[in-house]
Amino acid sequence: MSRPLPPVEDIRALVGHRFPGGHYTIAHWENFLLTECTGSEPLPDDIAHPVALFHVPILGAGTSIGEMFALGQADSDASIGIESYDWEFFKPLREEHPYRIDAEITEADRREENGRMFDRIAFRFDLKDELGEPAARTTITWHYNRGKR
C-alpha cells in the first residue's frame, strides 16, 4: 500500500541536514569481494576499487541506504531511482586506511516530469585521509518516485 504523499515542505526542509559523520576503514576482505563483484582482478598496492566510493561514504558518515530512503519518506525501497553520481578522486582509496567522512543533504525538492511526480534529493559526502587531506568527494542524487499525479 502506498504511503501518503509527504508535504513538499518536509522534503525541502531536508536541505542542510547533516549526518553524524565518522570514520571508515576498507577491510582487505571487503575490497577483495567488492572488486570480484565488478569482474576485475584485485588491484595492486592495496588500492581499493573505486566503486567503494558508494558504500564507504554512506556507512562512514554514520548513515545507511535504509536511513537515506527513510529520510526522503520513500514510498517503498523499489520506488527509489538513481538520477546521477558525481565521484571525484583526489587520491586513490586504499585498504586498511581510515577515512574521515562528513556528509549533508545539499538539494531536496519536488519535480514533475511527463506526468510523473518525484522528490529529488542530493547527498554530498567528503572523505579525508589520515593526514586530513581531501581524498574524495561524492554526490549521490536519487529520485523518490511518488507515482503518476
Binding site: 565488478t38 566503486v51 556507512l59 545507511s64 553520481y85 565521484w87 571525484e88 578522486f89
Partner: protein, 135 residues
C-alpha cells in the same frame, strides 16, 4: 601514451551480469533494496524474472575499462547518469571516447564520454570521466 581527441577507449566486456554478484554486493553495501536479490519483487514492478543490478556495479564496468586503459590510479572524476536498469543476464560492454585533452596541476588529463552498450536499447548508463594519462 599517445592519445588524441576522438580516440575510442578499448572496450571492456561483461558477458553476463550475474545475480550472485548482486547478492554479494547487496551484503557489502548493506543495501536493503530487494530489487537486487528478490525476483518476486522485480516481477511486481515490471522487470519480469530478473533482478536489477546495483548502480555502482554497472558503473564499475566503466571503471574497469578506464583502469585497463590508463592504470588503477588514473581516475580523477566520474559523472554518471542511469537512464535504464541493467538486469541479471544482460550482456553489456563498457565503451568510451576521448572528448578533450588538457593539463591541470602538472597532470596530463583526458576527458571522456563513457557509457554501457547493450544491444537493442539505448545505453542504460552514460556519463563522463576524467583520467590522468600515463607519462
Amino acid at each position: 601514451m599517445k592519445v588524441q581527441v576522438g580516440d575510442d577507449i578499448p572496450a571492456w566486456d561483461m558477458p553476463s551480469v550475474l545475480p550472485e554478484r548482486m547478492r554479494t554486493m547487496a551484503a557489502i553495501l548493506r543495501d536493503p533494496n530487494p530489487v537486487h536479490w528478490d525476483r518476486r519483487v522485480c516481477a511486481k514492478i515490471g522487470f519480469g524474472d530478473h533482478t536489477i543490478n546495483q548502480g555502482p556495479l554497472g558503473l564499475s564496468y566503466m571503471v574497469n575499462m578506464l583502469h585497463a586503459w590508463t592504470g588503477p590510479e588514473s581516475i580523477r572524476r566520474i559523472k554518471m547518469r542511469f537512464p535504464q536498469a541493467v538486469l541479471d543476464g544482460d550482456h553489456v560492454i563498457a565503451r568510451g571516447k576521448v572528448t578533450a585533452l588538457r593539463e591541470e596541476n602538472g597532470e596530463r588529463l583526458a576527458d571522456c564520454d563513457i557509457w554501457l552498450q547493450r544491444d537493442g536499447t539505448e545505453p542504460p548508463l552514460e556519463g563522463s570521466a576524467t583520467v590522468k594519462l600515463p607519462d
